[in-house]
């Protein structure tokens, strides 16, 4: 089978890729490296559709600095090593902007590899535009000049959630459940310290880590929470681990708020369905029921119509438009200059002004806490359910201090 049409055409494509580089200088290539197959393929697939839509919009409006944008997708199978192979492929195809989001392990591998590549290959620098990997280390301990993050990281989102908690006077106890790996641990640590800081009267009655993707029935966990009389549950879980947790909670009649980062994650609303109503809260930069201009709503509708997929990653549009703005300002694909332009840039999104903090290349954007509800104006995934905003957290309030000591190329 491999000797079929694929063998020939890919061979040709690869042989061409080197020589065509210069001829295609009129096109700006954004390399999208995320899983497109395997268990996480669905998430990566949704991401690339957002990127392509944003690119089409920019192209329709004249492109970046007069050049057309093209999004090339590379399947990394959410594997760090495979990501590095795909990175090399992307760079050889003339890609200078890498977008990635799924998996902090991949993001860590990429940021490391890109920094090394830029050091070893001056004049051929590459930028890493991270749209979803939320490990705080990426803009703290491991920050580097070539990495820009457009999603709020764990600590920022946790700051938002605990801000909400500050006003919930009847909550006296909290339970933390997260997956046992770096993100889950970062989640737990942040939850503990911020609850402690903002509501010292709340007792943390449980903080638990479970192996990722291995638990089939969360009922025992839920019953532990109920035995401990938890008034609120903080969970870092995402994907199946979250939907299973929510279903178990609903089945056992555990009706306290479940504070999540990824309650609205693609596929989750369908899987949770009725069981999550009134239970699940999420903190995001976007959900469909946030008030916005008609133009934005038209964009959301059009996106959903053309892609048969929910509009989810507002930050992808932010990312692409900020890149557009930076390239426009520089007037060429001079990567170090584009990076310098992005540093400290402010940009007006449909949901408020955002800033790329120069200290650590972390985007500051308004965040929204919302509850999974019935009777919403716009539902998600045709479930009839959707998110309702509880509170809005202004961009400034999400700022957390950074330990990043940015080393800028001279």
């Amino acid at each position: 089978m491999s000797k079929g049409i694929f063998g020939k055409s890919s061979l040709a494509a690869l042989l061409l890729s080197g020589s065509v580089l210069s001829a295609e200088a009129e096109v700006i290539k954004v390399g999208y490296i995320d899983p497109l197959s395997g268990p996480f393929g669905s998430t990566g697939d949704a991401g690339v559709k957002h990127f392509r839509y944003a690119a089409d919009e920019i192209n329709a409006a004249g492109g970046m600095g007069g050049m057309q944008v093209e999004v090339i997708a590379f399947d990394n199978k959410i594997n760090p090593k495979e990501s590095l192979v795909q990175l090399q492929k992307a760079i050889d195809q003339g890609v200078r902007f890498i977008a990635q989001g799924n998996g902090s392990s991949v993001a860590n591998a990429l940021t490391d590899a890109i920094a090394k590549h830029n050091k070893r290959n001056p004049g051929e620098e590459v930028l890493f535009l991270n749209y979803a990997a939320v490990d705080p280390a990426l803009t703290n301990k491991k920050c580097n000049y070539w990495h820009f993050r457009f999603d709020a990281h764990v600590d920022m989102k946790m700051a938002g959630l605990t801000d909400w908690l500050r006003d919930q006077k009847d909550i006296k106890t909290a339970y933390i459940l997260a997956q046992d790996y770096s993100y889950g641990r970062a989640f737990t640590a942040a939850a503990k310290s911020m609850i402690e800081e903002k509501r010292p009267d709340i007792k943390i009655v449980g903080a638990e880590l479970h192996p990722i993707g291995r638990v089939k029935d969360f009922t025992p966990y839920v019953q532990k929470m109920m035995s401990a009389n938890a008034d609120v549950v903080f969970t870092g879980n995402w994907g199946t681990d979250m939907t299973l947790l929510v279903k178990a909670a609903n089945a056992s009649g555990h009706t306290v708020p479940y504070l999540t980062f990824y309650g609205g994650g693609l596929g989750a609303p369908t899987a949770m369905g009725q069981s999550a109503v009134g239970l699940v809260k999420q903190i995001t930069e976007f959900h469909e029921n946030i008030e916005a201009s008609e133009k934005q709503m038209a964009r959301v509708d059009d996106f959903e119509k053309t892609n048969n997929l929910d509009y989810y990653y507002e930050r992808v549009f932010t990312l692409m438009n900020m890149l557009d703005k930076a390239v426009d300002a520089v007037g060429s694909v001079d990567v170090p200059k584009v990076a310098a332009e992005l540093e400290g840039m402010t940009y007006e999104t449909p949901y408020g002004e955002v800033t790329m903090r120069a200290d650590d290349h972390q985007l500051m954007q308004p965040l929204y806490i919302s509850t999974f509800s019935e009777g919403v104006v716009r539902d998600v995934e045709n479930t009839g359910f959707g998110f309702k905003t509880d509170i809005t957290i202004p961009a400034a309030a999400t700022e957390t201090p950074t330990t990043c000591r940015m080393r800028r190329p001279s």
Binding site: R214, K216, P220, S227, A251, G253, G267, A271, Q274
Partner: protein
């Protein structure tokens, strides 16, 4: 007290679900010697079939139709696939089913999409049956309990009281004898494979909405099913039953134990900051079946109730 009751109840449900899956696998293994690596894929097919059929016929018809469809799929796989590699030995068969698991997952993605589908508990059963220590006990779980016990009874009847059951039983203890009986062995193989798959499909129908119906559901539950079958003793239905419950209870009990290694081994001076001291029993719970598997194979390779070492 509270913890124990809950752990028992939850362990029972989970254990019975595991038994539904592993009984089919055990049947297939004991008759055909095939360790079906794609068994959990048929479980997944059961859930998806029930989802699709349920949209047209409602849950109750799907409960019967979906396992039949899965059984038919299993029969096709046996007839046009497995039978061809049979002559080349068990490793080839094992590899065939290993490849099949890949293919089924990808096909499911194409047919039903990559995200989870909204396969939900039927409204008739979606209420809480009673309250226990302040926690609700959903009716659907009792339904699951009833279905699995009905299945257990049906299986028992089939094996002990029918002709085909006697043949199957004979093959459980004397695997080489069946071919001498003059029965149509390929046909029996096909039927047994289909029946085993149908059992997995039934587990999928009632497990798919209790858990989540998504393309990776097979991959995530598959290894546990092997653990059950191996720990119980290859080819022993009783063993599979005991092992299913054992693993169900073991996992749910472990989750309720919060002590960390640092606390347990504090006499040995283990620090709570280290990697090992940090680990709690609860966080190890999902790994316990695999530990059990490795220990069992090393210490008592024929499993709890098995009569032969593979």
């Amino acid at each position: 007290m509270e913890t124990v009751v809950f752990a028992l109840l939850n362990g029972l449900i989970y254990g019975l679900l595991l038994f539904m899956l592993s009984s089919g696998l055990t049947l297939i293994f004991s008759m055909m010697g095939v360790l079906n690596m794609a068994h959990a894929s048929f479980y997944m097919l059961g859930a998806y079939f029930a989802f699709t059929l349920g949209q047209h016929t409602g849950f109750w018809f799907a409960l019967f139709l979906a396992p039949i469809c899965v059984g038919a799929a299993g029969a096709c796989v046996e007839k046009w696939g497995l039978r061809k590699v049979h002559a080349r030995g068990h490793v080839a068969e094992l590899l065939f089913t290993f490849g099949l698991a890949y293919v089924i997952e990808e096909l499911v993605k194409i047919v039903w999409g990559k995200f989870a589908v909204a396969y939900e508990i039927p409204p008739e059963l979606n209420y809480s049956l009673f309250e226990l220590f302040g926690s609700q006990y959903p009716a659907y779980r009792i339904f699951m309990l009833a279905v699995s016990i009905a299945m257990l009874a049906g299986l028992w009847y089939l094996l002990k009281r029918t002709r085909i059951g006697l043949i199957i039983q004979a093959s459980l203890t004397h695997p080489h004898m069946v071919s001498h009986l003059g029965h149509n062995v390929p046909r029996i193989f096909m039927l047994v494979f289909a029946a085993g798959c149908a059992l997995a499909g039934l587990a999928g129908v009632i497990g798919g909405n209790y858990l989540v119906t998504e393309p990776s559901m097979a991959f995530s539950i598959g290894p546990i099913v092997f653990v059950v079958v191996v720990v119980g003793g290859m080819g022993s239905l009783e063993g599979a039953f005991i092992a299913s419950l054992l693993i169900g209870f073991l996992q749910t009990f472990a989750i309720s134990i919060d002590s960390s290694f640092a606390e347990i081994f504090s006499f040995a001076g283990l620090s709570a900051d280290g990697d090992i001291g940090r680990i709690t029993i609860a966080s190890l719970a999902p790994m316990l079946p695999f530990l059990l598997l490795v220990l069992m194979l090393m210490l008592r390779p024929r499993g709890l109730m098995g009569e032969r070492e593979f």
